[in-house]
């Protein structure tokens, strides 16, 4: 696995709970269930905390504690499972989460742009080669038809007003 962030391969510093022990000295990524069990234990934990969420995890109840997390990773069990796109937008826009948002699981390079537009910052991918195409994907379109977390929404006619029947405005 490789971590792509801003089009570059980066070291993944985050670690998970293994064999029932809390690793010290490194940022810690918890599932929602783990967080619920350990919230009290981790009250004074000083290392950065992250959350790994599934598509079925509700977000509402996390709202009061979101600022505890430096990273939220949203899992795509299949690349065709689009729940995390909505979760990302809710986290960003409704709940004001401003930390790192990461896409993990089964994702395609063809989805970088829409993930980026929904607010994702980093991507855990099987093959680091796709880091090269990230920038191409992000800049493929000059604008969009709808507002999202990123990407300029087209506002108004880009060229000529309607009344002007110049051939240049439309090719038919």
């Amino acid at each position: 696995m490789a971590l792509v962030k801003h089009g570059k391969i980066q070291e993944d510093a985050w670690t998970r709970i293994e064999n029932d022990s809390l690793p010290l000295g490194r940022p810690l990524l918890l599932t929602k269930e783990e967080w619920c069990c350990l919230a009290a234990t981790l009250r004074h934990w000083e290392q950065p905390l992250g959350l790994l969420l599934e598509g079925s995890d509700s977000l509402d109840d996390l709202r009061p504690v979101l600022d505890r997390f430096r990273l939220i990773a949203l899992n795509f069990p299949k690349f065709t499972d689009g729940r995390a796109y909505s979760q990302a937008r809710l986290l960003r826009k409704r709940y004001g989460y401003s930390g790192e948002l990461r896409a993990v699981g089964n994702i395609l390079q063809d989805q970088f742009l829409q993930m980026h537009r929904c607010g994702f910052d980093s991507y855990e991918v099987a093959d680091g080669k796709v880091a090269e195409v990230w920038a191409v994907a992000i800049h493929r379109y000059r604008g969009f038809y709808q507002s999202a977390e990123r990407g300029q929404r087209r506002e108004g006619a880009a060229t000529l007003p309607v009344e002007q029947p110049a051939a240049a405005a439309w090719a038919y």
Binding site: T80, Q87, Q114, R154, L160
Partner: protein, 552 residues
């Protein structure tokens, strides 16, 4: 009609480039078929029984003559000289090669067309009333909002991998010609007491293996909130719709499962949270900009009643019949709407040759401001015709084999491609339609029977809209043989209803006789001036069962 500006042209071109690269990666082995399939579907490309199939979007069924000529050119250059107009107002080509698809999409992009989101688990091409903007009974022109929805839904980053496909239909007239109650979201434009425009929002309708008539989730939504409300519905569905079972993943199943009240509560809660803060409402200037495209053409003021139109009808009964069956009331005095039937008796419903497409384009230019519509019944429409031009237009249609006077009659059948083309089908649809067309080829008889919708689907997915037909035929497979189940009493309009199953299915050889038996029963039971539906509602299913099966 809407015309692309520089932004739209560039956007579609960028999409073509993206898909071309994806095709190249597929052919180079960088994408597996499993990965490629959802990507190609979102660009309208299927793999069917004999070949790939490309479904091209005709947004809300509206085309210019130039676009129609391009469709004809594509049919001739990259396909086998014809195209098939679909029940979602699109056109599909049955024989394109994968390697040609980027060239086809480039040719479409040049005339402001594309195949974006004509398939896939995303928001599909928005459909509307084919008489939008010209219907005499229209309250508000739905095309402005249909175009707004087309733009909003195009490559929406959040809603491109929904649990299942998502279809939106919008109408602006009390008489529903867009079948909005059998869509995932149906929108009916109306005005509140103060005269402000808005929508009745219907949700969770659909056909397929679980036919459902949609329920009203909101009686009146002010039009400026359309996008935020739809985002609330889509987000709720995206998060909660089932993803474990393909057959239970449409929004209609979610709405049934939680109940309309609970679903409404969740949507309204989401909407309250995003309505004001998310800046989803379009600026007035943008709505006005789009609305300007749909300003009516320069109609000639009617200075006197033109008698030539009436005279021509008196002199030529065939023309008179075509006028009775195929023309409809226009909001502008002296003008008419004409439907060009793509249902010649014995022909393939919805198919048009490249030559016919070009002829229709020429006639649209000569008589109809260069505009053409596609109906969900798989016919074409010239929406803006001077009544005085109708005799000459009709003559030209006769010469092109496009003057069949059967709109709304029993031979104006909807038929899916069925087992002749489709990978999912269990039985053929087209040859059944052809044989029924031949059986009812007597045009005087067909007209005498009055309005009857007869729709044929080749499998339970119901692309042929059989559930909402007065007479519906559903093809099923029984041990490798084709059988057809008959339903009666369905309808797709503002009083939408699902048809009742009349009894055991009939074989391919028996089914045309069975349809004739239904018609004969209707004629026997019919009272003066009744339509098929009125008779059916009065007498019920029993007499039909008796003649079909000899039982009670």
């Amino acid at each position: 009609m809407y015309r692309y500006d520089e932004f739209d042209f560039a956007f579609v071109k960028q999409r073509v480039d993206e898909f071309r690269e994806q095709i190249e990666r597929r052919l180079a082995g960088e994408l597996t078929e499993e990965q490629f399939k959802p990507l190609r579907l979102m660009n309208g490309l299927y793999l069917q029984l004999h070949a790939y199939m490309l479904r091209v979007a005709i947004p809300y069924g509206t085309l210019s003559s130039c676009q129609m000529r391009r469709l004809a050119w594509i049919a001739r250059t990259y396909d086998r000289g014809y195209g098939h107009f679909t029940t979602r107002q699109n056109i599909q080509y049955n024989w394109p090669r994968l390697q040609d698809v980027p060239k086809i999409l480039e040719a479409l992009a040049e005339v402001g067309m594309h195949a974006i989101q004509t398939s896939g688990n995303c928001i599909r091409n928005v459909t509307s009333d084919p008489f939008a903007g010209v219907a005499a009974d229209e309250i508000e022109d739905p095309r402005v909002y249909a175009e707004i929805l087309r733009q909003w839904s195009t490559l929406h980053p959040e809603f491109s991998f929904l649990p299942r496909k998502f279809k939106i239909a919008i109408t602006g007239s009390p008489h529903d010609r867009a079948a909005i109650r059998v869509h995932d979201i149906g929108l009916r434009m109306l005005r509140d007491e103060s005269g402000a425009p808005g929508f009745e929002v219907v949700v969770g309708g659909g056909q397929g293996r679980t036919p459902v008539i949609g329920e009203t989730i909101r009686k009146f939504l002010p039009s400026q909130h359309l996008i935020s409300y739809l985002e609330a519905i889509l987000r709720t569905y995206n998060l909660l719709g089932r993803r474990d079972n393909l057959y239970k993943s449409r929004i209609k199943i979610l709405v049934k499962q939680v109940g309309i009240e609970e679903f409404r509560r969740q949507v309204e809660q989401e909407w309250e949270a995003i309505r004001d803060g998310w800046q989803l409402d379009l600026p007035d200037a943008e709505v006005t900009r789009i609305a300007d495209y749909f300003a009516p053409p320069r109609y000639e003021p009617q200075e006197a009643i033109d008698l030539s139109f009436a005279t021509a009808q008196r002199q030529d009964p065939a023309f008179a019949q075509w006028v009775r069956c195929n023309t409809f009331a226009h909001r502008q005095a002296g003008y008419a709407i004409a439907v060009i039937s793509l249902k010649p008796e014995g022909g393939i419903p919805g198919d048009a040759t490249a030559g016919q497409m070009e002829r229709v384009a020429d006639l649209a230019d000569r008589y109809g401001f260069g505009e053409i519509r596609v109906t969900h019944e798989q016919n074409l429409v010239l929406p803006d015709l001077r009544k005085a031009d109708l005799p000459a237009l009709w003559q030209a249609l006769v010469e092109a084999d496009l003057a069949v006077p059967n709109v709304g009659l029993i031979t104006d059948m909807i038929a899916c491609p069925g087992l002749d083309y489709c990978n999912l089908a269990n039985a053929r649809s087209i040859p059944v339609a052809q044989r029924i067309g031949q059986r009812f080829a007597d045009r005087a008889l067909a007209e005498e029977l009055g309005p009857i919708t007869l729709n044929i689907s080749g499998c339970i997915n119901a692309c042929g809209h059989h559930h909402v037909a007065n007479i519906g035929l559903l093809g099923v497979d029984k041990k490798g043989r084709e059988f057809y189940q008959i339903t009666l009493g369905g309808r797709a309009d503002e009083e939408a209803a699902i048809g009742d199953i009349v009894g055991p299915a009939f074989s391919y050889d028996e089914v045309v006789d069975a349809v004739e038996s239904v018609v004969t029963t209707y004629r026997g039971q019919r009272q003066q001036g009744e339509t098929f539906l009125q008779t059916y509602r009065r007498v019920g299913i029993k007499p039909f069962k008796e003649t079909l099966y000899g039982t009670g």
